[in-house]
Symmetry: C2
Subunit: 397 residues, 2 copies
Amino acid sequence: MKPSFSIIDVRPFGAAPVDVRVVDGAIASIAPHERAAPPLAGDTVIDGQGALLLPGFVEGHTHLDKTTWGMPWYRNAVGPRLVDRIENERHWRATSGHDAARASRSLALAFLRAGTTRLRTHVDIDTDAGLAHLDGVLDTRAALADVLDLQIVAFPQSGMLERPGTRELLDAALAEGADVLGALDPAAIDGDPAASLDLTFALATRHQKPIDIHLHEPGELGAFTFGLLLDRVEAHGLHGRVVVSHAFCLGELPVAKRDALLERIARAGVALLTTAPASTPVPPLNAARAAGVTLFGGNDGIRDAWTPYGSPDMLERAMLIAMRYDLRRDDDLATALDLVTTEGARACAFERYGLAAGARADLVLVDAETVAHAITSRPPRRLVMANGTLIAADFSR
Amino acid sequence: MKPSFSIIDVRPFGAAPVDVRVVDGAIASIAPHERAAPPLAGDTVIDGQGALLLPGFVEGHTHLDKTTWGMPWYRNAVGPRLVDRIENERHWRATSGHDAARASRSLALAFLRAGTTRLRTHVDIDTDAGLAHLDGVLDTRAALADVLDLQIVAFPQSGMLERPGTRELLDAALAEGADVLGALDPAAIDGDPAASLDLTFALATRHQKPIDIHLHEPGELGAFTFGLLLDRVEAHGLHGRVVVSHAFCLGELPVAKRDALLERIARAGVALLTTAPASTPVPPLNAARAAGVTLFGGNDGIRDAWTPYGSPDMLERAMLIAMRYDLRRDDDLATALDLVTTEGARACAFERYGLAAGARADLVLVDAETVAHAITSRPPRRLVMANGTLIAADFSR
């Protein structure tokens, strides 16, 4: 049994003050602060002093295994093509003595301290690295199991078809504990979209695992591959079990074609992940939501051989998402927070999520007047609680 | 005579360690740390411990007068059109009791503490506000004159032609101390691009002031207006004295037409300001630089009735610029820093700028291995010096 807490005078999403009671890792009750009963004897009482209360954040797409977080700065001198980056990284992994356990743990802890309590990470599986990255991230998952809800995607970063043996490694990864089967550009990387998707869906079905596929393919090519994918979601009855990450093509299609595709995506229950890159077309926020498609957010890689950017602070990701979609009204910025909280939890099927009795006690307190204020100012965390355990607390003001 | 400093063991832009001597507000010498003479008696010695040395940052385009920085959070519920935002803001200014002196000083101090020592701000001049905002910002300029090099643009935020009396107010503003004449969308807002530009150029010529024009007009319309502007730069001989802010149109034109326009812009010595918005087309970085056009960076408004975004930390603006242009290599990220340092100083003609003997002692120290590391991590400032005066210093580590 974990300790009980009474966290008093906090404003969920900026609403009127409430008291939150936490018992054995779960939210036991949320009651208006003015009418709440006095804290129970034995509870640790935390006076929130009117701070903004948010649920623990959800990182929907990152690559913990290959970050350089907490290590010396990686000087990036890589060429501009996707294939340059893939090959550079494979070379870097092979020659740098990179330790996926240490790297993933360092970054996972940084996420936790900044308030992220649920996280989906894509882990490189290929014929060079074998399952070494998976083993490292499994170590991190075990070490942080009580506080961080960590989903592992077995991800063929170098493609699946081109390198014989990759499929067997993915098979082994799923048997060994990966939660989700990943995939990468069935046309542009694998060169045979139908065959690549067939293999992915067969493997996922055999292991009864969901799918999360990187789809960078642009415009009409991306739309074509997306159609093939939807055919297979329907054929395998994988409604609600598939995520398409990036889906740049949806930001490039003519509106009528895009909307028809969104409608099909909604029917198949496929969710879309965006990092909201400033330099690339992105799936349309309003049209996706209007069509009933779940759109959620993540960093992608953080300070690795691909990119110098990214931050374990999901309020910063919410800000970048909001800026990408030109959200300026307070109510619109609250939507950006949804993408790294409730929408992420729904898309990834993280359970017992949210600010409600019965949910896991994953809580964040910050000094901010509204959600928009929190997103734009990204204040230090006054409190982070993960599954009822205090990760950080600072009420020194 | 100001105090003298020996700032030892600092790495300019990440290069080998140097010692910087500051005498009476100026950089007196920069010498390799290993071979430098011992600090002179009487100097205040600051041991930089290998920190990264950057020049004071240049904010090329903001609106200090109407920020809510340091005040209660402004809840934005404004409609999406440009005219909604202009009218909402005029109403807010008239009813909120906003104090432009207090607001501008609060934000200017935040800029200083984060290392910005040169700043160009556009100040609203219109028939409702009159010269009240200018008076407020002139107060701030006077109060911070020793440390912040502040340029004031007299900016007709509500248009110039539509509201009789605006031209006279701009005339008065330039007489009263504004450094630059501003303007706004000669076609889309003023409705008569030739007449609007004629008035602007006549006024600037009469006062012998440079021009900085907001040009949001899209695509072919923007290109048309830009062409009319270039005609007048040539006719008035204002080479090197005109900035076009935003210039979204340059991100939308067919490449051949865009490059022909860039070539004309380079010949006219017109500089381009970008905030690198994630949701809007932007002038092309590489093509502009290849054509010899100066491109520099700024925030635009910070936390005001237009936008909840923006930060007085110009390293964050450099990061957003770098992300917008998808810069990932260390050497490319150094270019993003140029936009908020040397390029900004050149475009706005800030004098005695840079890390060289004879320049004003505007210095920033941060813990970072390279410029790219500083941009992506935006570390706390170890030291900020402005015109030889210590603004902030923290060597507690």
